[in-house]
Symmetry: C2
């Protein structure tokens, strides 16, 4: 098997069999394709006798999103695989093990995480993950610090920038997050009931002025290797374990963007709880769980990142008094600004989140969407003045209170 | 001739002869090596009969600076050649024509500029170049705009970032400009008479805090393809013509860094005029010429860059009201901050400028060096508050007045 072609189940099994020291030679392997077919084939290959299983993920040469299809480079499979390996080396417990990568087939074989659940689904079901905040804060601190000029040899970092140049996937982000939602673009996809709010946003020049600068940061700031798409759909989770997957959007960008993905997706779930929680007590309790999780993510990230800085920073000026505080504050501000962009794009733009999109009550759904836009705007407009993480939580809570008291 | 080796005069002539449509088949070519041997061999190859001549520049696999020698990649010849081609395409009159590049020999053959003078020498001799401000402003505006996300397809720009990843040459800048001068480093090289001022600077934590942030910008901000070493020694000039040469430090960095190179080198010459001008009238007149040139550089650059933006910007948010003003102000601030760093490094760091270093009067020289440090510090400390280019000129003029009145 050499030249690229989409694999059959039989071929996938044959490839899996050839991985050294995994399956028994005579194992009776079975495979099923479990992907959604939009970007990748995903094969689950297992041996019922030994209880061993793996995932084989193969990139397709196109992307399908909401009926649209456009060609997409297979090089993203290389980027995903190399990012997984790098993240796994930094956070072995938080990233699946890669067994094999094949460039020609654009295929990565990795640890099976079928005992985990996609976090977005878990949050919608009202599960709580007491270890998640610590896990994701560690993932963020370690991957961002050790790929940046603070924690990585600065010449090797430049080679890493080259390795992860990722024009096609970056373009998706640039278009769908940092452009289309702010214009009457064909790719947009929003509830007709909120058209008035969307049109107000399209005419909102002060908002666009902030978004232009956040977009510029996404385009030019080669601060660290980002996961690039770190929403709750890219996280496999159990109560005990957190695994970050799917880094095909990885590239050198502004650290705050990855942090923002986590913050904004938890915030979207927070809004969705008006529907998903069965009682007002349950809602209040779950929202408290989410805000506590959010606070813990930032504070643990902040602590971890500073600890890495104090112990491992290689930049000759890193220990200059005051520099770390300025750096962390700017990180916080970037994260808040990008989080705002993500809340707006998940409401107006092409790709939404199930936390809100699958709400069956049209009025509750509309309310959540309007809140997402309002919160997104407040975060973006205020991000450069943010002094502490309270800005994020306060914005969320005050928006909710505003609805209750209005 | 295939594998890399330093060329002989005879080989250089043979290679020159093979360039199509340049020299006559039977031309009697002569060659001499005119480089300083520190980084490159530079052959001047001419045909007395036809008056035609060319420059053949070959990278050496090491750098020699002030007696030190360290290995250096030959890939810098590729970067230099590709940057020259790109700059020439954008500014055909301001960059020498490249006739041929050979990767294996790390060799570029280009237009001979022997009728031009190195600008630093010309300024020391008191020449005036009435077209220079317009020329260099055009070079800066066009090269920076059309290689940035404002003027270049944003996906192609990412490939250009990859093409110009330049770790070794960037490291020279990072060490010699953004680190060593701020510590008691072995590479430093300063007049023992100013040791008190240098030691004060080494203990100056507020200054280092600003430098740390400017260093970070140099390390992370992939804004545009920079020349990377745009001092007056990288410019060939006559009254009518300006040619920018030697872009081997080219990489994607913050635009302000290139602007700063021009500003700071003119400022160093301004300081040196206490010695080079024969009378106080001549000094005042030449300094006025320099400040007028500086003002014209910024105002013309600002005008040109805005005009390119208004006509050619491809970023979907570029026309957002207010964005251009914010962008230009930040460019100004960056240029002022980087200019301060360059004045300090040219006084304390490894490589100095002849404008001050060749001053024979030890007291005048010391005064100029102390002024360079003081001005550098003021520029760095104030750069983030700068609102107009007056900040730069005022800092220069007030420092001089301070000396005269104290």
């Amino acid at each position: 098997m050499s030249a690229y072609h989409p694999l059959t189940l039989e071929e996938a099994i044959q490839i899996a069999r050839e991985i050294p020291d995994l399956f028994h030679e005579q194992a009776d392997l079975s495979a099923r394709e479990i992907g959604d077919g939009n970007l990748n084939l995903v094969f689950h290959i297992s041996d019922a006798a030994s209880d061993k299983s793996i995932i084989l993920k193969q990139a397709l040469p196109y992307a399908k999103v909401v009926g649209e299809s456009w060609p997409l480079t297979l090089d993203r499979a290389r980027i995903e695989s190399e990012a997984l390996l790098l993240e796994h080396a930094l956070c072995p417990d938080l990233v699946p093990t890669v067994y094999r990568y094949d460039a020609e087939l654009a295929m990565t074989i990795m640890e099976d995480l079928s005992d985990h659940m996609i976090m977005r689904k878990g949050l919608i079901e009202g599960n709580r993950y007491p270890l998640f905040a610590g896990h994701i804060a560690e993932f963020l601190a370690r991957t961002l610090f050790f790929t940046s000029d603070l924690g990585k040899n600065q010449q090797a970092k430049k080679e890493a920038v080259k390795q992860f140049i990722n024009p096609e996937l970056c373009k998706i982000t640039e278009d769908l997050i940092f452009a289309d939602p702010y214009f009457d673009s064909e790719t947009n996809n929003f509830n007709p009931a909120i058209r008035d709010a969307v049109e107000t946003l399209w005419a909102d020049q002060p908002l666009k002025l902030e978004v232009a600068q956040l977009r510029e940061k996404f385009l030019t700031s080669a601060q660290a290797l980002l996961h690039g798409d770190l929403h709750t759909g890219s996280i496999f989770i159990t109560e005990q374990s957190t695994k970050v997957i799917d880094p095909e959007f990885a590239y050198y960008g502004p650290m705050g963007f990855d942090i923002a993905a986590i913050l904004s997706n938890l915030a979207m779930n927070y809004l969705g709880q008006e529907y998903w929680s069965k009682t007002s007590e349950a809602r209040e309790s779950y929202r408290r769980y989410l805000t506590e999780t959010l606070r813990e993510i930032w504070s643990t990230f902040d602590n971890n990142f500073r600890a890495l800085w104090n112990e491992h920073a290689i930049d000759p000026l890193a220990q200059t008094p005051g520099y770390q505080d300025i750096y962390m504050q700017r990180l916080l501000q970037d994260a808040i600004g990008f989080a705002g962009c993500k809340m707006i794009r998940r409401t107006i733009g092409l790709a939404h989140v199930a936390d809100i999109d699958t709400i069956a009550d049209v009025q509750v759904k509309e309310r959540a969407e309007r809140l997402a836009l309002a919160i997104g705007r407040t975060l973006i407009m205020g991000h450069r003045q943010a002094k502490s993480f309270d800005t994020f939580i306060d914005t969320l809570e005050q928006a909710i209170e505003g609805v209750h008291t209005s």
